[in-house]
Structures are given as structure tokens and as C-alpha cells.
């Protein structure tokens, strides 16, 4: 049993990489992930990646901000310190729409930045872990789990045949920028 964990096909051209994905999928070889230095149109559909749930998270972060502000305003202007301002009711909603809107946006933005860090394991001060350094530069990487797909020579052939410039057999999942 070999110690190889991941097989990386490194392509110089996005079209060839897309072709490589097709080839692997035709042979029922499961692709772990694909890393590209730029967004590639239609790749999510091809890899069958589920839709991001970031929009749902955004909605709930936003609504949390709305509720926080309205509660805060209510506590301050009605419960704690009611003041008569221009003869209006204490909880004069239109006055506080702009600030509620602002806090909705603020909570939404901070929440999304937090979600992004959490889902990508990127935190300030932490060195990012990547599978191939050139994936953020000039190479398009297809990663195949070598433990699940045991016919390594066939994977190599398919990747090379599709135009991979280099095929790597890695014993560790990640290399890091450290």
C-alpha cells in the first residue's frame, strides 16, 4: 500500500483542465477538488458543487442587526429614558429607520467576513494551507483522492492525455506557505 494521499494534475490551460475533468468523470473517478487562479465559467455545474449558502447566512446576519438595533432603540427611548422629542411618540420608528438600516448592513458585512474566514480556514496570522503553490499563480490543478481511487497509473494516463503538464503524487494533503 502506497503512502500517496493525493494525485494532482497540473494544467497550463483552463480548457485542457476542463477536458481533464470530463475525462476523469467519464471513467468514474471522483475528483476531490479543483484549484484555479481565476474563476472559470460553468465549473461549478460541471463538478456538481452545491450552491453556496452564503446568501441565507447573509439574510440571518442582517435580520440579527435589524432586531438588535430596534431592541436597543426601544430600550433606550421607551424603557430607560423616555424624552419628548418634537411631540412624537417615544418609539418614533421613521426616525430610526436609517440607523437600523446601517446596523443591518454592518452585521451582515461582519458576519459574512467571519463566515468566509471560518469556511476557508483563513484567519489573520494563520498561514494558508494549499495543495499546490502554483494554483494561485499560473496553473490549474485537479486534485484526486488517491486513497479512494486506487488505479493510479490510469489516473496519471488520463491526466497526461488531457494535457496535464505535470502530475504529482503527494504524500501530504497540504503544503503550506509557512
Amino acid at each position: 500500500m502506497s503512502n500517496i494521499k493525493y494525485i494532482l494534475g497540473s494544467f497550463g490551460d483552463p480548457d485542457e483542465m476542463m477536458h481533464g475533468i470530463e475525462k476523469l468523470q467519464e471513467n468514474n473517478i471522483k475528483i476531490h477538488d479543483v484549484y484555479t487562479p481565476m474563476p472559470i465559467h460553468g465549473i461549478e455545474a460541471k463538478l456538481g458543487i452545491k450552491r453556496s449558502r452564503l446568501d441565507i447566512a447573509a439574510f440571518f446576519f442582517g435580520i440579527t442587526g435589524t432586531i438588535t438595533m430596534l431592541t436597543g432603540v426601544y430600550l433606550a427611548t421607551v424603557v430607560d429614558w423616555p424624552i419628548n422629542i418634537g411631540g412624537k411618540t417615544h418609539f418614533a420608528l421613521p426616525d430610526f429607520i436609517p440607523i437600523t438600516f446601517e446596523l443591518t448592513i454592518l452585521f451582515c458585512a461582519f458576519g459574512l467576513v467571519g463566515s468566509y474566514y471560518a469556511s476557508t480556514h483563513l484567519f489573520p496570522g494563520r498561514a494558508p494551507r494549499v495543495m499546490d503553490l502554483r494554483a494561485s499563480n499560473d496553473r490549474f490543478i485537479i486534485a484526486v483522492d488517491a486513497k479512494e481511487n486506487t488505479d493510479h497509473t490510469k489516473i496519471d494516463e488520463l491526466l497526461k492525455g488531457a494535457g496535464a503538464l505535470e502530475v504529482k503524487h503527494n504524500e501530504r494533503k497540504y503544503i503550506s506557505y509557512e
Partner: protein, 412 residues
Amino acid sequence: MGTHHYNLSEQFEFTGKVKILSIVGILIGVGAIAYGFISDAHERTFANLLLMAYYFACVCMSGAFFLAVQYVAQAGWSASILRVPQAMAKTLPIAVIILLAVIGLGLYTHNLYHHWADPELLVEGGAKYDKLIAGKSAFLNIPFFMGRQIVFLGAYSFFAIKFAQWSGQEDLHGGLDYYRKGFKNACIFLVIYGFTTPIFAFDTIMSLEAHWFSTMFGWYNFAAMWVSSLATIAVIIILLRKAGYMQWVNNSHLHNLGQFIFGFSIFWTYVWFSQFLLIYYANMSEETVYFYKRFNNYESWFYINLILNFLTPLLLLMDRDNKRSENILLTVSIVVLCGHWVDYYQMIMPGVFEFGPKVIDGKPGSGFGFIEIGIALGFIGLFTYTVLSALSKKALAPKNHPFLQESLNHHL
């Protein structure tokens, strides 16, 4: 993506049920106008005519605005749907003639703009002398007012027709010359349009209540006309698609239109609320009179307006899948179109009728009945008839548009 084969030179055939229904609509409209005058509700008829003529003109001129925005942004996604706003732009001159006729006759018969268009208001020491109106008379006098209307609407019509013409010639001759010409003129048009639409809205709608003014009013109207035009474009495209035309329009195009409708509905609310908040907060009687009339006489309309134009698009179009769904986008667009009718109703009726729906000294107030529905149906029929006739004259895709391929392969 890939190899699709669409018949890009297909043409819309304007026949059958749609044609008959639009003519029936026009006849109902004529009937409603006749009924309005026979039943002695002159003011109410004129107010409704102004509402619908303004709505009609605004939707068409925002069609030209849509074309100009696409030129200036060098947008690719919209290339294959441009024939619809072009048809709306081509209809603009008809809408302009109707609007000018309504305004002119309204002034002539003293049914509209009586807050300022009465020479006795300016006679110092006279019984009807009004100092505020006299102070505004350098701007609000009939020759200058009509002159502005004719110059502004004429300029919009000129550019609207030119955009449609150049696109037609692009079909015949190809090349980039027509696109460049369109781009250059779109820049000029946008500057003119941006500076003059607020004044156009001040004149046509805000001067119905000439004592009151709001600097937000121009943008408020601009937002209303732009979002209603986008909703109209969406409705026409979805109905054409359902009828078997324009099969190249995919759900990514709908997504973009949905984003536009969603975004500009929020923008409309933003401007509407900005106008409201300042007046509410400052609470000065000369300003609050505007909302006082609307709260007292039209309270339910006031909230319906917000539900239709803000909450509906906000809640129904927020989700990505809903923007991409034909039926939901169609429903929301129709709701928004009805909503902006309510919005214009809110702007016009309390200005024309001092006491709202109440009958004062035997003079009937505003209302909601056959006159309103009939005139609205009449203008919908007229709009359908004129826009669809204009649409049927050319192929449904501008086949030599430089971005057509990008638009056909549009994918979000």
C-alpha cells in the same frame, strides 16, 4: 453554453387575440373618458388622463434610458433583448403627443394646474392674489411651462427614435459604426435626461400642488419611472417567451432583469422614504401639508403603496431562484406596475382634489371606479397596441449587434 441554433431573424406577428384585446382595451378607455365627461366628473377624468399619460410617457422614455444605459455601460448581456426597449422608445412620440394634449387641454379647461395657472392669482391686491404663487410665476407660467414640456419631451423622443433607427440600420449594414454612434449619443442623452427629468417631474406632477415643493421629488419620480419601465420590459419579454418567441432568453437574462427590478424598487423606497423622513422629522406645517392630505384622505392607499412597491419585490425577489423563475418575476413585475399606478395616484389625486374623495359643494372628489379602471385599461391597450406594432416591424434580435454572441451565451 455551446452550440445553440436560434432563428435570430424571427419576427413577432401582431395578430389574433392580443390585437383584439388591446383594441377592446382602447375602446373601454374611450368609453371611460366619455363616461367621465358625461357624468360631469371633468376634473377626475383629467386627473386620470394625466396619470396614465404620464405613466405611458415615463415607461416609454425610460425604455430609451435603458438603451442609453446599455450603450454607455457597453453591456453585453442585454444585446439580445434590446428590441423590446427599442419598441418602447419608438412609441415615445405617440406617448408624448398624448401627454402634451392632456396637459394642454387640462390647462385650457382649468381642470389641471389650477393652483398656479390662473392669472388672477398674480394680480397684486386682487381678491385671489397669492404671494407664493406670484413669487414662483417667473418659472411657473404657461408659455415657459409648455415650452419646457415640449423641449424636454421632444429631446427625449428625438434620441429614442434615433437609438431604434441606428439599431435597425445596424441590422442591414453591420459594422461598428452604428454602435459607436449610439454610444456617443447615449452619453449626450444621459446628461440631458439626468438633468431634465427632475424638472419634468416638478412641472408635470409636483406643480399640481404648487405651494409645496420637495427637491427629492424629481428623483422619486425618476426611480418610479425607471423601475416601472424595467418591470414592463420584463413582462413583455416573459410573455413573448411564453408565446414561443425569443427562446434565446434564458434565466440568466431574467436574473439580471430581476436584479434591476429588485434594486430599483429598493432605490424607489429609499428616495420615497428620504422625502418622507425629512418632512416628518422637521414637522414644519408648510411641508407636512403634503403628507397631511395623504394621511387624512388616502390612508390605506398610503400603506398599499409601500406594500406593493417595497415589500413585494423585497420579499419575493430577494431569493436568487425567484429572480430566475419566469412566473415569479412576471407576478412581481405586474404587482410593481400596479404599485406604481397607486404611487402616481398618490402623487396626483390629493393635489387635484383639495378634499380628497369627499364631495364638497356638489363637486365630486377623487375616487376609484369605472373612470380609473377604464382609463388605465385604455392606456394599457394603447401601450400594448403601439409597442407590439413597433416590435413586429423588425427581427426580434439585433443580429449585427457587436455583443450579440455574448448575450446569447449569457450565463450567471
